[in-house]
Amino acid sequence: MAYQSRESVAVTGDTNYFLKKKIKLGITYVVLILIALYTLAPLWFLFTNSFKGQADIIRDPLGPPQSFSFSYILNAISQIHFFRSLIITFLITFFSVGLIVTISSLGAWMLVRNKTKWSQVIFMAFVAAMLIPFQAIMYPLIQFFETLGLKNAPGLVLMYGGFGLSMSIFLYHGFVKGVPKGIEEAGIIDGCNIFQLFYHIVLPLLSSITVTVIVLNSMWIWNDYLLPFLVVGNSNTKTLVLELYFARILAGQFGNPWELIFPAVLVTIVPIVIIFLFLQKYIVKGITDGAIKS
């Protein structure tokens, strides 16, 4: 009898405990859902208002469109030369990131494997340069590249290559240090030359940090406004962000042309959202690794 009553006490205590835990978890979810709605709300405004005319947008910014019209999107696509600027943005990002990955992985590998006073000085120089904000060098840089005849898209790729170096070399350097030299020595004995050694043995070992380097640099270059603004400006090699900026400036002389801005913003961000949803595992991992290592 005594034994039984003690058990029943324990059981009611447990249900209380679980109930409390459940309520707590429920509150957590309610808060999470509210914050998620808040996070997504601006994107909802963006979506719904991309199908409305100016008067509709001002009168009812939150609701769904009265009549579903693609005319605003089509207009925005032609105004910002969507397909041209998408290809330009893609090519610039692709070549810049390719350049950064190639030369920083090679460089960092050499800096780690050949330990001399020089390699330490050079590495410190790369790291110290991370303290220099872009503003401190932009004017002389643009002037210098103009005299070289490189104030254009190829010049832009080279500049991104230079700016991406410091952080990428830093990340690769930290990673190569943890890769044992023995595997490479085996390769050397088997008669690999330096490029075979790098391409077939070293690069595959670096793949996880390469993901980080690609993610961090692509995100920055794809969305960058200032450097393309200074280098290509209002020419016909504008990137997506730049097209968006100039469309806004041009139309904005007569108030805020929301019926152009919303669809223009929508079409510029759709490619990134799609890429993000497909590659988010790698992107999140890349960000986390990058942040922890730096």
């Binding site: 601006p42 405004f45 904000p133 872009f134 004017y139 002389p140 330096i194 406004y225 900026y245 959202v273």
Partner: protein
């Protein structure tokens, strides 16, 4: 024969060359030019009043710097940037940590929430700035916080048309955008804390607040270092959102925009003065980040 030694300079050459052309050389020229009457395409000679024959006759000592400090707009941008950075670092950190704690508590759907909170980070500051400009100008002003709206809060109306309000508008926008990024870093930090500590604490009967203060916070110190570093330098160098939201109207220029617009404020464009501001900006950014890294590293070691 050491294969690495043989190839060292050859394989490092592209990186060094590009680094020199894009960073080092312009940086040195920039330092030099901040002491010259530099007009962008030419150097001005203050003695003769015309184009200088050589760079040396254009030397004006610290005049660009004194001009910068005499410029009301520069001083205002400097103060505004410091105020903004202070508020933004605090708010973005709290938002990031709060999100991380909530997401790690959730059992099912944690990765879905993580994706949603992180999403704004993928999008460009300019594009997001335009959307939020609309939110502040139309949704906040005419709907949510107007006299016959949800709640009448005058402070949250016309936020892009007043210097103080616009500062908080920028904070709201950036907390929304970067909160998810900081959350990712905090989540990684939280997952690194061993469960054993929490078990020991619960056996000792520690309250949740006590556990948070005595275990979570000290164990998260490395994440704090990273997040402080990122928010500090992001806020100090913020440009795109500033341009998209107010474009510097109503005295809302941050330093990055001030340096960019100085050459438009002056005729002929005074690149020397802009460059002097850029050098001051560099000194500020470098000293703040170095101090911050030093202090948090030291605290990390003490704990």
């Amino acid at each position: 024969m050491d294969i690495y030694k043989k190839w060292f300079w050859i394989l490092l050459a592209p990186a060094i060359l590009l680094f020199f052309l894009v960073i080092i050389f312009p940086f040195i020229v920039g330092l030099l030019n901040s002491f010259l009457a530099w007009r962008g395409t030419y150097y001005f000679d203050p003695e003769t009043g015309i184009r200088a024959q050589s760079m040396f006759s254009s030397f004006i000592g610290f005049e660009n710097y004194t001009n910068a400090f005499k410029d009301e707009r520069f001083i205002r941008a400097l103060v505004y940037t410091i105020q903004y950075t202070f508020v933004a670092v605090v708010v973005v950190n709290i938002v990031g940590l709060g999100l991380a704690l909530l997401v790690t508590k959730a059992q099912k759907g944690a990765s879905l929430f993580r994706t949603v909170f992180f999403l704004p980070n993928m999008l460009g500051g300019l594009a997001l700035g335009f959307i939020w400009q609309f939110i502040f100008q139309i949704v906040f002003t005419n709907l949510l916080f107007s006299p016959d709206g949800l709640l009448h809060i005058p402070f949250l109306r016309y936020m892009t048309q007043d210097s103080t309000k616009a500062l908080f508008a920028l904070v709201i926008l950036n907390a929304w955008q970067f909160g998810g990024y900081m959350m990712i870093i905090y989540i990684a930090g939280l997952n690194n804390i061993s469960r054993d500590y929490y078990e020991a604490a619960s056996i000792d009967g520690a309250t949740p607040i006590r556990t948070f203060r005595s275990i979570t916070v000290p164990m998260l110190m490395p994440s704090f270092t990273v997040v402080f570093f990122l928010t500090l330098s992001n806020s100090f160098k913020l440009l795109d959102q500033n341009i998209a939201l107010t474009d510097g109207e109503f005295n809302t220029r941050l330093l990055a925009m001030q340096i960019l617009r100085t050459v438009k404020d002056t005729a002929p464009p005074d690149y020397g003065k802009a460059q002097a501001q850029a050098v001051i900006f560099f000194l500020l950014v470098a000293s703040i980040t170095l101090t911050q890294v030093y202090v948090t590293k030291k605290r990390e070691l003490e704990l």
